[in-house]
Symmetry: C2
Subunit: 303 residues, 2 copies
């Protein structure tokens, strides 16, 4: 497969994998890592000016997002959230009230999904605010992994994507219940949450699984979010490019075995957008049958 | 007890306690929080320019410190480290090699203490580097807490303190094995690691336990680290003030029941520096018997 984004982060993360002994149950590099017994865990760090903008976003929503992105990692693995910790480096200028709002947003979002905030670490410094949430979750028997896609699987998306920058990146609802149901009720292959972009996250599934994928442009069309169309008016990019390339939609991208019951999948809100192939290529197939390489527009943190 | 440091962080942390449901086994606010089963967890965030200085400190040592401060939290509770996660916001200017050095320092220090690095989150941004390590640990039957000091307990310190800024804050050895042995072998009361300063961390134990303490200046004298004397030459503060007020020594401060076997305690490296009192005052008793309030010089993050 053509390297989807041969930049610094992928290389660094691959090197870091050598520092992190995986476990027999779960190799390094999935949405959650093995902890002990049936527990998995993960952490996500959000930085002011990168993942949120404290000049325009309310602190409670910022806190909510910091928890929700972690809950989305649980969703992607079909794991049940157990609890969370939150460490913050608060900008010196931040008021105690704003700091409390931030933490209340974290705690409330966790409580909503059965994931109590258990503690953390509070610091301040003369730089923009940084928030790091760690989450632990119980693995169910049907744990979803990103390396389990197989040729012949169908590819499904849990909702429309693109243009989340218009606001949904702060208010999205992590698909925790859906992830649990997919793991328990459907013949699932691989799963991931769309955090960096549909195309790049699909590429991650394919790379981890040693497969390729073919996305059906006609099936994708109704899953292009209205916000992608709105963004398109000012960015010079097509709505489809936004749907494929924008990050932070936090919908689930799942592959299902060929025997998956279509009606049941659709009743859960899943929509089929393509299939997994053996040839390790990522392709977009147009209505007329013409196919071309899937554009990988996802954002990478570390260049 | 007189409030030891009536600044913003204490008030904020107290308010945050309302957002964090403690568990019957372990109230909010100790070095580690309850996770599930016998597992505890905690996180600590380190910021460039505050907790380390990337202009003068090697990245591998910085990474080591980020892991070691978390291991010290395990030591303070007599818990056995199980694994760790590390999230970073790397300064844009940082090379991939420096980023790898940092993570290698984290991983190597964890491996040294039986605490494998399991994963994390890698980001970059145009601000100074931030590192957040989360650790999980197994509680033993003799879990050490900070709220279990009782009048009549003696107060012990695991090593000399003061002046860690001269370098030991990067190279200290977390007292993981000692914490496990204290929990298993001694009639322990409360414990904490000296992270923010001997006086303020003792105050935390006393506040959590609803007691006071009397520190013996003569017994403290040999526990004033040589670095405290060196620092004293340039700071205008006495070596004793450095020993009481400097943070980041990461020695254990433990209270033991009156029946603790002195020789055994000393063989483990513990030294008695005072006793717990019922009156909720913190006092320093001089050689001539005169006593005065213990100066609380510990540093607080959030003002």
């Amino acid at each position: 497969m053509a390297s989807p984004a041969p930049k610094g982060e992928r290389q660094l993360v691959r090197r870091l994998g050598g520092l992190c002994p995986g476990t027999p149950e779960l190799p390094f590099g999935d949405d959650l890592a093995a902890l002990a017994g049936d527990l998995l865990w993960s952490c996500d760090m959000l930085m002011d000016g990168v993942d949120f903008d404290s000049r325009s976003h309310p602190w409670r929503l910022i806190g909510r997002k910091a928890m929700a992105v972690n809950l989305s990692d649980c969703a992607a693995m079909g794991a049940r959230p157990a609890g969370a910790l939150c460490a913050v480096a608060l900008a010196d200028a931040l008021s105690a009230e704003a700091a409390y709002e931030l933490m209340a947003g974290v705690a409330e979002c966790g409580a909503e999904f059965g994931c109590p905030l258990r503690g953390g670490d509070t610091n301040s410094w003369p730089q923009p605010t940084v928030i790091s949430v760690t989450i632990a979750a119980h693995a169910g028997p049907g744990l979803l992994r990103r390396d389990q896609a197989r040729p012949g699987d169908t590819v499904w998306l849990s909702g429309p994507v693109g243009g989340s920058l218009l606001g949904r990146h702060l208010t999205f609802s992590p698909r925790v219940d859906l992830g649990l149901r997919i793991a328990a009720e459907l013949p699932a292959g691989a799963a991931i949450d769309v955090s960096d972009g549909l195309a790049i996250d699909l590429a991650r599934v394919c790379e981890a699984s040693g497969v390729g994928a073919s996305i059906d442009a006609v099936a994708l069309e109704p899953l292009i979010h209205p916000d992608a169309h709105i963004r398109s008016r000012t960015t010079g990019r097509t709505p489809r490019e936004h749907a494929l390339g924008d990050g932070e939609d936090f919908e689930l991208l799942v592959t299902l075995r060929p025997n998956a019951p279509t009606e049941r999948c659709e009743a859960l809100g899943l929509r089929c957008i393509g299939r997994i192939t053996a040839d390790r290529e990522l392709r977009l197939v147009e209505a007329d049958g013409a196919s071309h390489p899937l554009p990988i527009l996802g954002w990478e943190h570390f260049r």
